[in-house]
């Protein structure tokens, strides 16, 4: 089973929830998909035993063959190729690696070469299999690294994906085709605003989801009221507690700081399992009828 932990707003506690959920279960593969700034390793302290570079294909132009026809430049939706006279300038950081330019070039002057955009690190943290993607600093292409992480998921385990924040491509790449998405928010107007956007996204992806309210008690009831109104499952509330903040600052997972929460995370997992099972059954029902 693949569970993504996402949020609209950043800093609501995705990693807090993902790490503690993982630590409360056995047979977990934990994957930090927030490749622009992965931070689960701070809490899980994994031993890394393998580092694999991630590349994406970018065009290389043989200027002796190029006729300067501009077809590559006209095709490229990301403006990664510009033709100046008979010379093609390539902007690798704009390239999305689709390969269209190599196909459209009538002179067969364009080939693809790999460009390194980051690395995937694999290891273990206690009994847990750990994996994280690290995008090179300054590089804008997060999604291909997440795509590579997703190819390495082990479906025989409980897979927990720590998602990037927001609602853009890296989040879609993380959450799509997951069995469940835990959406972490905070009970503030900012938390609610961004939760609504994130819910819209996850609904579009057709992934079953529920909400965890972190720092419960700091704001208002608007998130809970909205969830009730929308018929969204409220899965869990993590209280605002000074001990959590202090432990967090030392890199300690909340489930270790407040032992009661350990059981709550086990219950969270049970709830997720029952929702996923029910979804699978109703899907079977649909198929039969």
């Amino acid at each position: 089973m693949i569970i993504a932990v996402a949020s609209g707003k950043g800093g609501t506690g995705k990693t807090t929830v993902a790490v503690s959920l993982a630590l409360s279960l056995d047979g977990v593969q934990f994957v930090d998909c927030d490749v622009e700034e992965p931070n689960a390793a701070i809490f899980l302290r994994p031993a890394i035993d393998e580092k694999t570079p991630v590349t994406m294909p970018v065009p290389e132009v043989d200027e002796t063959k190029c006729s300067g026809c501009r077809k590559c430049s006209e095709l490229c939706a990301f403006n990664a190729l510009v033709v100046v006279g008979k010379r093609v300038m390539v902007f690798p950081n704009l390239c999305h690696g689709c390969g269209g330019c190599t196909l459209v070039c009538p002179e067969k002057a364009i080939t693809e070469k790999p460009r390194e955009i980051g690395v995937i690190e694999t290891g273990t943290a206690g009994g847990m299999v750990f994996m994280q993607g690290l995008l090179n600093v300054g590089d804008p292409m997060a999604t291909p690294i997440i795509g590579q992480l997703r190819k390495r998921l082990d479906n025989s385990k409980t897979v927990i994906l720590d998602s990037p924040p927001g609602t853009s491509c890296p989040v879609i790449e993380t959450v799509r085709d997951c069995d469940f998405c835990v959406m972490v928010t905070e009970p503030t107007p900012f938390g609610l605003h961004d939760l609504r956007l994130a819910v819209e996204t996850v609904r579009e992806l057709n992934v079953p989801f529920g909400v965890v309210i972190n720092s419960a008690g700091i704001g208002d009831d608007a998130v809970e009221e909205w969830c009730a109104q929308e018929g969204i499952r409220l899965l869990m509330k993590i209280p605002w507690d000074r001990r959590i903040a202090e432990g967090y600052s030392r890199g300690e997972p909340v489930a270790r700081i407040i032992p009661d929460l350990h059981d709550e995370f086990i219950k969270l997992h049970e709830t997720i399992c029952s929702v996923v099972d029910a979804a699978a059954q109703s899907e079977d029902g649909v198929k039969k009828t």
Partner: protein
């Protein structure tokens, strides 16, 4: 001489758009005859690569100089590779910018001393 001025509007009374790649549009003026045409910037809303696309458009239109507020690294690389001079820090109306250019009051930005590919997105030379 054919000038390209990044513009917020469609005629010479419009204000110069301070951005090159993300400008609303461009006014192409023949500085000798005063004839001009307006070109909407199709790349203004693109997710990325607005500068390189806008520079390609300017090259295709045969402009010899660009008058604008600022030029980003990608556009700078393309325009300098095409031998197009860039005059930045330009503000006020498009008309006033053209007059300032003709009066020799504008300073062109130094063409990069590095080869053109040095501007490939400031990506630590990984091309």
């Amino acid at each position: 001489m054919k000038l390209c001025i990044s513009s917020t509007g469609r005629d010479l009374s419009a204000a110069v758009d301070p951005r090159f790649g993300r400008a609303a549009g461009y006014i192409l003026v023949d500085s000798d005859s005063g004839a001009f045409e307006y070109l909407e910037n199709a790349a203004a809303m693109s997710g990325g690569g607005a500068g390189s696309r806008a520079a390609q458009t300017v090259i295709n239109k045969g402009a010899q100089a660009v008058l604008t507020g600022n030029v980003g690294p990608n556009a700078f690389a393309v325009l300098s590779a095409a031998g197009i001079k860039m005059y930045t820090g330009v503000s006020g109306t498009v008309q006033a910018a053209v007059e300032a250019f003709k009066g020799g009051q504008l300073q062109s930005v130094d063409a990069p001393t590095a080869p053109a590919h040095a501007g490939t997105g400031g990506m630590r030379g990984r091309s």
